[in-house]
């Protein structure tokens, strides 16, 4: 599903943020990505959701080498990846329904099909009363759920979440991770970057720990591995 070999990454001519990262995530696996601030977690996730290209090494997603893939073949690949951004990145002038509809709309699905799917999902995440609300009128937790709904609406094969619980309280954070757990059970490969050790400890998933630009795999609290 996701394979990195000796991946290095730097921004421009700056220092190397990631060094010799090698890992392989199996389909249907669930990994937490932990590490101190500035360790390169967001950069590693950006490589996974194709927002950046590595400076060196091999990144292979869904069996395809990203370095050799023509640019026009990247959009279909991106549609197989759901992303929950740390800052949500909801589009301010669009309603909750329209924000969540975007991945289906760019994929060219018919409008009536999009509407029914999106409405159903927003009900499922508890936003039935806020379908037409603009992001600015929603609370942090509600925006978080809209962002998650947008990431999962197209049933992605891989879901990457960058600090998805950073803006919500402990209880809401736990409920969101339960939602990810549910998605994982339905077959989605999950990578969740978080600082929240208490939440990580409540789930039996292995963690990828990133520190000083280097990555190591740690087993889950109950010995769970990829």
């Amino acid at each position: 599903m996701v394979r990195f070999e000796n991946v290095g990454m730097r921004y421009g001519s700056g220092p190397e943020i990631l060094r010799d990262i090698s890992m392989s995530l199996a389909p249907g696996s669930f990994h937490f990505l932990t590490g101190p601030s500035g360790a390169g977690k967001s950069s590693l996730l950006k490589l996974m959701y194709l927002a950046e290209r590595p400076s060196r090494g091999l990144v292979n997603l869904f069996g395809k080498d990203i370095a050799t893939l023509p640019r026009q073949e990247l959009p279909p690949l991106r549609r197989r990846i759901g992303v929950v951004f740390q800052d949500f990145r909801l589009i301010d002038h669009l309603s909750a329904v329209d924000n969540v509809s975007l991945p289906l709309r760019v994929a060219g699905l018919p409008e009536e099909e999009i509407r029914s799917h999106v409405t159903e999902l927003l009900r499922w995440v508890g936003l039935a009363d806020h379908l037409n609300a603009r992001p600015a009128t929603l609370s942090g937790g509600q925006q978080q759920r809209v962002a998650i709904a947008r990431a999962v609406i197209s049933r992605p094969s891989l879901l990457v979440a960058d600090e998805p619980t950073g803006n919500v309280d402990e209880d809401m954070g736990f409920r969101l991770l339960r939602l990810f757990d549910e998605l994982n059970r339905l077959g989605t490969t999950m990578v969740v970057a978080t600082h929240n050790e208490r939440l990580v400890a409540r789930f039996n998933h292995p963690r990828l720990h990133l520190e000083n630009g280097e990555l190591r795999l740690e087993r889950g609290a109950l010995g769970g591995t990829a």
């Binding site: 959701y49 194709l50 927002a51 950046e52 290209r53 640019r71 026009q72 959009p75 279909p76 690949l77 991106r78 549609r79 992303v83 951004f85 990145r89 589009i91 301010d92 002038h93 669009l94 329209d98 975007l102 991945p103 709309r105 760019v106 994929a107 947008r150």
Partner: protein, 296 residues
Amino acid sequence: MLRRRLDVPLDRDGSVRFVPWVIALMVYLAAVMLATGIVVSGAVSRWDRSLAGTLTVELPPVKAGVADGMDKVVALLRATPGIEKVEPLAAEQTSALLRPWLGAEFSAADLALPRLIDVHIDPDAPPDTKALAEELATMAPGATLDDHHLWLDGLIRIARTIEIVTAVIILLIGGAAVLTIIFATRTGLAIHHGVIQVLHLIGARDGYIAAQFQWQALMLALRGGLVGIGLAALTLFAIGHAAEATRLQGSEGGLLPSVQLALPGWIALALLPLLAGLIALITARITVLRALARMP
């Protein structure tokens, strides 16, 4: 018409509000230039057509009672192959030609005027004018043959220069329109970079994102183009009306060419807003695609 839902909120941008006004001004200038080119081109064609089939024979003035050789010259012309019609102008007709300059009281008897013969030739098989001129000079010393090309060539040269200048100005206006759209599109790309990045990362193809900009640019340019062509039509109507009034006031026919546009001219002008829209659409699309090509 063409109202589309925009994922990128370009319709709320203050930065693009100036675009329709700039396009309106450009379409206005282009329309006036195009109309000038069409009128000049039409006038030259008319002059060319009306003069290409005619010659004028001029016999020098003679004293009263002296034979001017008019009859012999007319006979020679009528016998020349390629000449269809020979029409000597009566003294009164010659006077009428000079009356606009010399006044209504002017009479042919006041001046020694040359005698003129209007000759219509077959444009498909014209006579040899050089040989004819020599024959005429032998028959009636001082007689000249004018095929009008001397001054018509000069007029055509001036007209062609005006056509080229108007075409260059229209191209420059088009270039300025392209630069305006590029600037507005780049501003939009910078303002909405965050939204564009989200669309890019959720799998939108470059063409999907470019479409947001290109349809917006088309609508803005069409809106501006319609205002510009409306103002240009008013201006051209006003100029046409004033010119016609001048022609009617002056001599019959007059020296001024008609500045009224025919239907094809109006159709060409009506296409300008569509052309502006097309230029805006293509420019915005290319600008966005080039910018997106720099994204991973």
